[in-house]
């Protein structure tokens, strides 16, 4: 039987996060999972909206839940950790705080929408590792990535506050996934430490310091790849390496990827399909030389 999930792409997917989108779709298609898009979804509100008005933010996100509610598959999944958190929080607060739930439901009614509460917000990583399972993943591996030493970077909003399938401070899900792909995960104490998120736009010096610590530690732990889960984390870690170098006077450059891109590589897909060329730290020849060399195609 074919697995189906309702899919919430999220705004960044349309721009900077395109590669995340492409690789996710490619990999899940390969695994025979159907992702049908939530039609006319809207922005989840992210952190910024919360800062302006709690109720509006929750109501905004709730529209997506209401839309998903009409689908026969009530499992709503998204590749973006920010969206994952906000949708999850909205759903939980509507239950936890009756006043909020009541108010949001009224707001939805004004828009001719209704939310029964049956939607379950799932993270794609959760689906990949638990619904599909690592055994299934192993079956698809055509190119075990023996030379890849992975610093697994989960980022904050993937695991906090709602992660229920792994430990929140030192999770091992990606580590186990990486192993399934033949790669070696390194110990990575910063795996759930914040990258600065949207502060990169507003307070670059602050966010870059956080990214600096993460990149530096990844190299220190002997990794040659950082895997990230969230488009924003990836953007921050991937795009600002030159700025960080000039700001802190230390070269911390290291190749970064979405976990789905690594899965795709191990599945033997070509880099184009996985949107690898869109990563700033992308270097095809390096990848061939250091990672794929020796790995059967």
């Amino acid at each position: 039987m074919k697995r189906r999930y309702t899919y919430f792409p999220g705004c960044s997917i349309l721009g900077t996060g395109r590669a995340c989108e492409e690789s996710t779709r490619a990999v899940f298609a390969e695994l025979g999972v159907e992702l049908d898009d939530l039609d006319d979804w809207n922005c989840c509100g992210a952190t910024a909206y919360m800062s302006v008005d709690e109720h509006k933010a929750l109501a905004l996100a709730a529209r997506n839940l209401a839309l998903a509610d009409t689908r026969e598959c009530a499992e709503l999944t998204t590749p973006c950790s920010g969206c994952y958190l906000v949708l999850n929080k909205t759903q939980r607060y509507m239950e936890e705080y009756p006043r909020v739930g009541d108010k949001v439901k009224c707001a939805l009614k004004d828009a001719g929408l209704n939310y029964t509460g049956r939607v379950r917000v799932r993270h794609m990583l959760d689906i990949l590792v638990h619904d599909i399972g690592l055994d299934e993943v192993r079956k698809h591996v055509k190119r075990p990535l023996k030379n890849a030493k992975i610093a697994p970077y989960y980022g904050c909003q993937t695991v906090r506050p709602y992660l229920d399938f792994d430990h929140q401070h030192y999770p091992m899900t990606i580590d186990r996934l990486a192993e399934a792909l033949g790669a070696t995960p390194t110990h990575f104490p910063l795996k759930t430490r914040c990258c600065g998120g949207s502060q990169m736009g507003t307070l670059p010096n602050v966010a870059q310091r956080l990214c600096y610590a993460i990149l530096r530690e990844a190299r220190r732990q002997g990794a040659n790849l950082i895997l990230s889960v969230c488009p924003l984390c990836h953007f921050n870690l991937d795009s600002y390496q030159p700025d960080i170098k000039s700001r802190f006077g230390e070269d911390v450059s290291i190749t970064t990827m979405y976990y789905t891109q690594l899965v795709g590589l191990a599945f033997g897909m070509d880099p184009e399909t996985l949107g690898l060329h869109r990563n700033m730290t992308w270097d095809g020849s390096w990848l061939e030389r250091e990672i794929l060399a020796g790995a059967p195609a």
């Binding site: 430990h167 401070h169 030192y170 110990h187 104490p189 910063l190 610590a213 530690e217 220190r220």
Partner: protein, 676 residues
Amino acid sequence: MTGFQKTAGNGRQGARGGEEIRIGFYVCHCGMNIASLVDVAAVAKEAAKLPNVVVSREYKYMCSDPGQEFIMQDIRENRLNRIVVAACSPNLHEATFRGAVARGGINPYLFQMVNIREHGSWVHTDAAAATQKAIDQVRAAVARVAKHRVLERRRMEVNPSVLVVGGGIAGITAALNLADAGKKVYLVEREPTIGGHMAKYDKTFPTLDCAACILTPKMSAVREHPNITLWTYSEVVKVDGHVGKFHVTVKRKPRYIDEETCVGCLECISACVFKAPKFEDEFNEGLGKRKPIYIPFPQAVPPLVTIDPETCLKFKTGKCKSPCETVCDRKAVDFTQTERFEEIDVGAVIVATGFKAFDVTRLPIYGYGLYDNVYTALEVERMVTSSGPTGGEITLRDGRVPKSIGIIHCVGSRDKKTNRWCSRVCCMYSLKLAHLLREHTGADVYQFYIDMRCPGKGYDEFYERMLDEGVQMIRGRAAEVTDWTMSPEEEGKLVVRVEDTLAAYVRRIPVDMVVLSTGMEPAAGAEEIRRMFNISCSTEGFFLEKHPKLAPVETATAGVFIAGCCQGPKDIPDTVGQAGAAAAQALALIDKGYVEMEPNTSYIDADDCSGCKSCIPLCPYKAIAFDEASKKAVINEALCTGCGTCVASCPSGSISQNLFEDDQIFSEIEEVLSHV
């Protein structure tokens, strides 16, 4: 003392016999505790109007001597033969007033108490409603007491021996106290040796006297005491009966050594086919290794070896020449041993099953298991002990001697995600460890604490001393232990990230060794013990005392006492004190030779009994038997504990319960509802 008095002879005929029912009613102000909300005057006024009430009075403190005197006096002067007191909870003063009633010259069970404090003034805010409630309950009591009959308490002889469960310092103390008083004591311990947690400690705070030096003499005293039967490596599996006569079944696990013949020469251990110790040593918190045939520690009591079938080749493969067996000239090794069951009768039980240290893997934020140099406090206790796995050497797992050490407090305490409660001992033992670690290594020691709690004799002085010794106190709950570095001096170290809340700076403190001061949890298996002995538990799972202040070692089950950390986290002095108290309570019980049982037992009206036998399986105490001759059920009053379950289930309504007769309860129901 104000009151309403009716002219004598005003009472009506009672329900039973020709006897005239003359009730005296008394309502207590309890200072302002009751009177502040309940209109006691109104209650007294209403009560005066009730049938059979001859005297109705209010008084400031009914439980005081003058209060009780009023009752006795009225009984004499107004020929009262029933008494009702509206005051606090019967659990507090029922006995007091029954005493007064008896001294007044009438049967103590011609008395009923109404709880208008705990169930009234203290829980309500609306004076009118509270008063009305009080009046309704009083009406019920008055109606009920009229139907009370003369009852006698049953005397039951008490078995003069005591069972002590748990051989830690609490159990040891209690057992020795009782044995010294000439009582027979059975001491049952789950582990191969007694001594409990205390045997694992090096020094004890605040005096820093060596734990072994003060504990081991007591341990051997237990072994040598003629009045103590010591069963180690054993567990209580079944408990029947009740106060005065508990029937207890103890499972004795096979240690594959004949306890009578083994003299503890330990030849067998050196003879074992495993030349070097290979298996995790529980007593040393896994820091050391032991063989399949082992003794927990040299001063173990009893000094017997134990064979662990999980690791012994004889059991695992069957293919072992078992030199242990051949080397033993007393032929004490016995692989055929199986578990045995001992059955004993005791009059009282002292439960002292201790605690379990918090499992630090529940807090990965502190990196235990992830980083080699993160240790639990108990591991460090073993390490600093000269008889421990490292012979008192403080060496990290990589062999280095730590130059800087961080001790993290409240690990698994004061944390809603794990355990909410304060474990009370961690502040002090952390200071103690700080001292010992500095003594052994000269390292800098940082204490990461939320609040220092040193309330005990000489405790705060010890804290002060540690400050003078240069232990660095950082007020802040350590947020994480990590090995990522931001600066050269952090290379190769563990970094504790913490807010120094008094300096209001977040600090990164690099250390070589981290010690986690784990809190206390209810012991493994506490739940089973609790159920077996019918002890209720407080929210955290520790055993619940009968009264937090006035009955700290008693439980809701008569004859079962608690001592030590099974009742809640506490340090050694408190534990020993409590153990002594429990022993004294048990002694008071058994020394008297008998217990007086409440007369609220069930009885059968043989004429009405149809002999359907439906009550017989219902009685958990097997107190109901079927008399083949008369074809009727009969209740053995000695066995009946007075729950009344059989009464409620008798189809022919031929079973009644003293003090809880159907007509008494029905009249209560009628009266609490009669107000419109």
